[in-house]
């Protein structure tokens, strides 16, 4: 397809002080509406819900009745619908266009998954119902777990972690429990510098000290440095594979063997599993624990930041230490293994990670996606994700520097640096200019091993046409940045907001509504 065949561009970008920007009485511009806070349009008397009559009874609140006003604004139902619908239109979303955040996998969110998650049999059941009344729910969790075990080639899966970082915690707690069970009080976790920031935070959170392992010039873990650091004080190594430079860790098998030989265990951050699902089983590489971000690989929607789900697959060595509760099949029935029912298989469990059974709503969505794709479709997912990323890398490496362009094929994401941009222009400017082209920017300034990193993950649900459109837009912005077009510094011009003052926000934090007229 042809990108912008007429070649039309706005003659003049709006300047920051352009008076026409705020020149309407309402502050609105065409279909873009300014929307006040609920605290400014609602009041404490308004309500959008009708109730049945309240029976008259004597209070049993023990004298603790609330007397003071809470200060919560209400709106009628039509006002509420309009308020939030208007706000929704100030968001970019995967339903609107390509969302190329590296390491985050923003892919199509099928609405079948939403329909399935809302089946009353899954959505309207309580986690403390008697087991006989929730056999179907246990079955879904069990079947999903079996899929994850087969896709990863691991021994077992812990389903309760509520997000990727919670999964990391689960994996490390299992590792620490296994080491302590053999009387081995190791205290250090090694984390390559290309790892997600959650990895060192997680290790510290469960009582480890953290040491960094450098990356090679080719963007992979420095195996020699890693092996040199291994020793009797090292409990675990946390590796991301495929890594955050978008590369497969070629020496993963050798690394795992060396770590095991030193008496330590390997945690793999599986955030990028979508690049290898159906083509590589992490268990075959020798890892001991890996979380799977269901929201990334299996399409559960991000919802503006969550919720996620982070089941953790475990090797045989770690299986006895998995958290509770746990679902097991006994004959034709499913049982929930909890503290009191833990048998020999789970007697070494490190305990509970959250109040209930895990993220059922996410499980249902992921299950629906996996069943839709099947084993054949999931293999195709990895192939198309990798093909799309390599296509983006090769179509742009003449206008953007690809620091690891010669390190082998990239996996799920293409990484560029700010090398070659004109003086005074940065990755930030490219990102903000992409907004004016109608795209959400890529991940900026991550991974830290690359200067001014731009990490682009197209995912498997993008068509060639949408990739070509994105490539054309980024190419045009990159060319302007190389040529020194300083107007990029003022972008975005056409978004709901111009560049926001993040420094000011942190210096004097305003975290709640401070006004007082409408609701007090």
């Amino acid at each position: 397809m042809t990108i912008n065949p007429s070649g039309w561009r706005p003659e003049r970008a709006l300047a920051a002080n352009d008076e026409s920007r705020d020149g309407t009485f309402t502050g609105n511009r065409g279909l873009m509406l300014e929307e006040p806070l609920i605290f400014e349009i609602g009041d404490t008397e308004s309500c959008g819900v009708d109730f049945d009559a309240v029976p008259a009874v004597a209070s049993r609140l023990g004298g603790l009745e609330r007397s003071a006003s809470i200060g919560l604004p209400g709106l009628s139902e039509p006002e509420t619908v309009r308020h939030y619908t208007r706000l929704s239109r100030q968001n970019y979303a995967i339903d609107l266009g390509l969302f190329p955040l590296g390491s985050c996998t923003m892919k199509h969110n099928p609405r079948l998954n939403e329909r399935m998650a809302r089946l009353p049999g899954f959505a309207d059941v309580h986690p403390l119902q008697p087991a006989e009344t929730v056999q179907g729910a246990y079955e879904l969790i069990h079947v999903l777990g079996e899929w994850l075990i087969k896709l990863t080639g691991m021994k077992s899966v812990a389903m309760s972690p509520k997000a990727g970082a919670h999964g990391e915690l689960c994996g490390l707690l299992a590792i620490r429990s296994a080491l302590e069970a053999r009387g081995d009080a190791r205290k250090v976790v090694l984390v390559p510098e290309s790892a997600h920031g959650t990895n060192p935070a997680t290790a510290a959170f469960c009582g480890y000290s953290v040491e960094t392992i450098p990356a090679t010039k080719a963007g992979r873990v420095d195996r020699a440095a890693l092996e040199a650091r291994l020793g009797p004080d090292v409990a675990a190594v946390m590796i991301t594979n495929p890594n955050t430079c978008g590369l497969f860790e070629r020496e993963m098998v050798e690394i795992c063997a060396a770590v095991h030989a030193a008496g330590a265990l390997v945690y793999c951050d599986g955030a990028n599993f979508n690049a290898i699902v159906g083509r590589v089983r992490p268990g075959d590489l020798g890892i001991d624990a890996m979380h799977i971000n269901l929201h990334k690989t299996f399409s559960t929607p991000h919802g503006g930041g969550g919720p996620g789900a982070g089941p953790v697959v475990l090797s045989e060595a770690l299986t006895p230490f998995a958290p509770l509760p746990y679902i097991e099949k006994k004959g034709d029935a499913f049982i929930l293994v909890e503290e009191e029912t833990a048998d020999a298989n789970h007697s070494q469990s490190f305990g509970r990670m959250a109040a209930f059974n895990g993220q059922m709503g996410m499980f249902t969505r992921a299950m629906s996606y996996m069943m839709s794709h099947g084993a054949d479709g999931l293999r195709q997912v990895a192939e198309d994700a990798v093909l799309n990323a390599n296509y983006v890398l090769r179509e742009l490496d003449d206008v953007l520097d690809a620091p690891f362009g010669e390190s082998g094929p990239c996996m799920h994401e293409a990484l560029f640096s700010d090398e070659g941009l004109a003086e005074g222009l940065s990755t930030m400017d490219i990102a903000k200019a992409l907004i004016d082209e109608g795209f959400h920017p890529m991940t900026m300034y991550f991974p830290l091993v690359v200067h001014g990193a731009m990490l682009i993950e197209p995912t498997e649900t993008e068509s060639k046409a949408s990739l070509d459109q994105f490539i054309g837009a980024l190419r045009s912005v990159a060319e302007r940045a190389r040529a020194g077009d300083l107007s990029l510094k003022s972008a975005p011009f056409y978004a709901p907001r111009r560049r926001l003052d993040e420094t000011g926000a942190a210096r004097k934090p305003v975290l709640t509504w401070q006004g007082g007229k409408s609701v007090d």
Binding site: H83, S88, A137, K150, G304, G358, R499, L500
Partner: protein, 455 residues
Amino acid sequence: MRYLPLSDGDRATMLASIGAPSIDALFADVPEAARLPGVIQDLPLHASELSVERQLKAMASKNLVAGESPFFIGCGAYRHHIPASVDHIIQRGEFLTSYTPYQPEIAQGTLQVLFEFQSQVARLYGCDVANASMYDGSTACWEAIGMARRITKRSKAILSAGLHPHYVSLCNTMAKFTGDTLVTSTPTLADGAPGDDMAALLAAIDSETSCVVVQNPNILGHVGDLTELAAAAHAKGALLIAVVTEPVALGAIKSPGEMGADIVVGEGQSLGVGLNFGGPYVGLFACSEKYVRQMPGRLCGETVDAAGQRGYVLTLSTREQHIRREKATSNICTNAGLCALAFTIHMSLLGEAGLRKLASVNHARAVLAAERLAAVPGVELVNGSFFNEFTLRLSKEARPIVRALAKQGILGGVALGRLYPGVESLANGLVVAVTETTSDEDVERLASALEEALA
């Protein structure tokens, strides 16, 4: 494979552009031994939309649905009516399919919602500030204990006996690894005020204590006054952490902040989210302003853009893992964004007047139900005070009774024996929750089934 747009022609063209002979060439870095030669054999192949619907509906139909049975289960998750517009709005693609608002210029919708959410939670809890939500109430509870450790530089936390046992279990798990000392105890069924032995709790606070964690209403439904506990904690330099698993209660009772709590955490599931068999839920987290830099989780703040217009951004990220790595306040790098949105929409529909009304309906229906059930021979109401959940002492062990009720399609509450296995003194306890969704007929059915089971 309806979700994959590339045609074979596209794939061939793209491979040619890349200069790769085949897809296999793109996986060249995978060691030979770890390459799967073909499709994994013992998993099914792709399925049509209709087929997936049939398979999942078959699983769902094996469950007894809360809304289709007399339903009295609470203990940390509550069944409330959710207005239709809540689910409609959260399914708008611009909310549902957006990512974390890292590019604030094109994420003002999500950011303004988070700012409204934080403002609502802070007011509901009676605190200065709130964060943009946590995984759930139980994980928020543990994060609050860690925050108290950082603030007080002490690591002994006292957990009240009325704290949800699953929350206690999670804290015990984590404390094994962080080295915190936890003081825990088992609740009593003391008449009138089940849960804590308040004198013992007060006596346990000493100069080593980082915090006292107390749930209100507690796991047995008892509504208590936290002021004395707050004063006792403060007198020893410790913080009071209050946990609220039923936020609707705060439409009727004094907020924990008003009663002196320094950090308030809890579950927001009751408003807008639904039961979902345990998750996803939404953790609420609020505190005094002076502690904000020790707070875990995301925060949204108000600012201005280059044209001087008001806008919102994620802020104070120097506390967070992506900047501070191992020195971060928490390893959490997400929030329960969509559930927070649902909470905020439901709260906006209710407003203060609606929340108070909803609380009144819950309380009144619970009082009527408690009186009716206490009239059943072999049933005693333990609580003197309660909001929408109370504990009954049965003349027989409660677990078999609950199972017998379930056989008749009645989800009659939570037997304390399930939450406290092996604790003899609690075995006859049954915790019953009543909300606006509970009908008089439901209560009658439970009462007569109990009467039969206890006869």
